[in-house]
């Protein structure tokens, strides 16, 4: 027998979203939703997750759509795998930050299994797709007994591991804001080896007019309890011409704005130091490709 054995649970296999909602309403906090399983099963093994019910999304038709519509944006169904982002030409074209996050996400096996939505729902400050999605701007579509509601990604993560999703709701879709020809974006991260979780990740979305940044969204991970928007730092970029001097000020501002901690992957001191450097680099990368 292989040495790790999953705890016992009852498997629920609803065939449509309405049945999912009914089961979630019935069992509330007693049920874990299974899509990719790359987080859920690891958590189950190490006994952080021992819900008596596991609800699998496998038997549900749909929720696997990945569509870009100009003027609306990108829609990512709850069952879309990270690897699918890399195969969709519109993701590479319109959302470089998300593409680069997916490209650097974990390992090929995990990219084939893990869902994009799962990364967001995990509410980890180290989620690479989560970081890119926060910078790009998005809404999470939650479906519950009373119908659907949209939660802005800026409000979605409440604290470490906790989201706005209520126990009787299923997160059915991510809607990433549309981009235009003046939008540029990029993602970077720091790890010791490729398989590791990020010790720091960053993504930016900039609306450019020639060399001038009209609007900026900066998301940084591993520097707070959830992925963070660096709003003070963004204000330095808004309306400013991108120059070496400005990027020095931006880097200094980021170091002030982040709130990192020491953990097994890095130290607060190191994270604070590199936050400015990596932000400067990711802005240069985004602008170079626009």
């Amino acid at each position: 027998m292989s040495s790790r054995v999953l705890p016992q649970f009852d498997l629920l296999e609803p065939r449509n979203v309405a049945d999912v909602i009914a089961l979630l309403s019935q069992h509330e906090n007693q049920v874990s939703v299974l899509a990719g399983g790359t987080d859920l099963l690891v958590w189950a093994y190490i006994e952080k997750n021992k819900t008596p019910y596991v609800l699998s999304l496998s038997a549900i038709e749909g929720l696997d759509h990945l569509d870009y519509v100009a003027g609306e944006g990108l829609r990512i169904g709850a069952k879309v795998k990270v690897a699918q982002l890399l195969k969709h030409p519109d993701v590479a074209k319109h959302y470089p930050a998300l593409y680069q996050a997916a490209e650097n996400f974990a390992t090929p096996q995990i990219r084939n299994m893990a869902t994009v939505m799962g990364n967001v729902l995990r509410a980890s400050p180290a989620g690479d797709c989560s970081c890119a999605i926060l910078a790009l701007g998005a809404k999470v579509v939650l479906q519950g007994p009373a119908g659907q509601r949209l939660v802005d990604i800026d409000d979605f993560w409440v604290s470490y591991g906790v989201t706005e999703r209520q126990p009787d709701e299923l997160a059915v879709e991510l809607r990433i804001d549309d981009t235009s020809s003046s939008t540029c974006s990029a993602f970077q991260r720091l790890t010791r080896v490729h398989e590791d979780l990020s010790k720091l990740n960053v993504a930016v979305r900039l609306e450019m007019d020639q060399d001038t940044c009209k609007q900026a969204r900066i998301a940084m991970g591993c520097v707070g309890p959830t992925p963070l928007r660096l709003k003070k730092t963004e204000r330095l970029l808004t309306g400013a011409k991108i120059s070496a001097e400005l990027l020095q000020q931006v880097a200094a501002a980021a170091r002030e704005e982040v709130t990192p901690i020491d953990d097994q992957r890095s130290t607060a001191e190191y994270r604070r130091q590199v936050s400015g450097v990596i932000l400067k680099r990711v802005i240069e990368q985004a602008v170079a490709k626009s």
């Binding site: 790790r4 054995v5 299974l34 399983g37 790359t38 699998s56 390992t107 090929p108 299994m113």
Partner: protein
């Protein structure tokens, strides 16, 4: 439900049996079907020892897949790579390049290589190295594994190529 009757298609052959719902695909392969070529390493999706192919091209960690979730998919293990007793070009390439030392990671490495080449028949060295992310080898230092993947890609390109086991089904 606590147990479920499932049909698993492994290496082109259907197996019908009852599993507890908390059984992983790896456990079902090793303990129920006695197909012990797929290895248990870390159990948390980091080492790649348990890598199998889904539907002939996607590498997945069988330790993080429930057996019940694999129903309806074509699963290929390294045991499905041989064809009528003949080794697959990927296996030959690993032997010829000396890419095997202790051998524990090899089943996963072979399946990862099959996945890399199914998606990209002529990968660059960089693409090979990036593709091998998620499969850990503690003996070889990877150099010979990278060379074996390259040799396999040349062999499969020039020789009569065969489809990977699960694709035959």
């Amino acid at each position: 439900m606590k147990t479920k009757m499932i049909t698993l298609c492994v290496n082109g052959k259907d197996h019908r049996f009852e599993v507890p719902v908390n059984r992983t695909l790896l456990q079902a392969l090793r303990d129920d079907l006695k197909l012990t070529e797929t290895k248990y390493g870390c159990g948390t999706g980091e080492c790649g020892g348990c890598t199998v192919l889904m539907d002939g091209k996607d590498s997945v960690c069988s330790c993080l897949t429930l057996a019940v979730e694999a129903e309806g998919r074509h699963i290929t293990t390294v045991g499905g790579m041989t064809h009528e007793g003949e080794l697959h070009p990927i296996q030959i390439a690993f032997i010829e390049e000396g890419a095997v030392q202790c051998g524990y990671c090899t089943p996963g490495m072979i399946m990862k290589t099959a996945s890399i080449l199914a998606n990209n028949p002529n990968p660059t060295e960089e693409e090979i190295r990036k593709g091998l992310d998620g499969n850990i080898c503690r003996c070889t230092g990877y150099e010979k594994i990278v060379q074996a993947v390259r040799r396999a890609s040349v062999m499969m390109d020039t020789a009569q190529t065969r489809k990977v086991g699960g694709m035959r089904a």
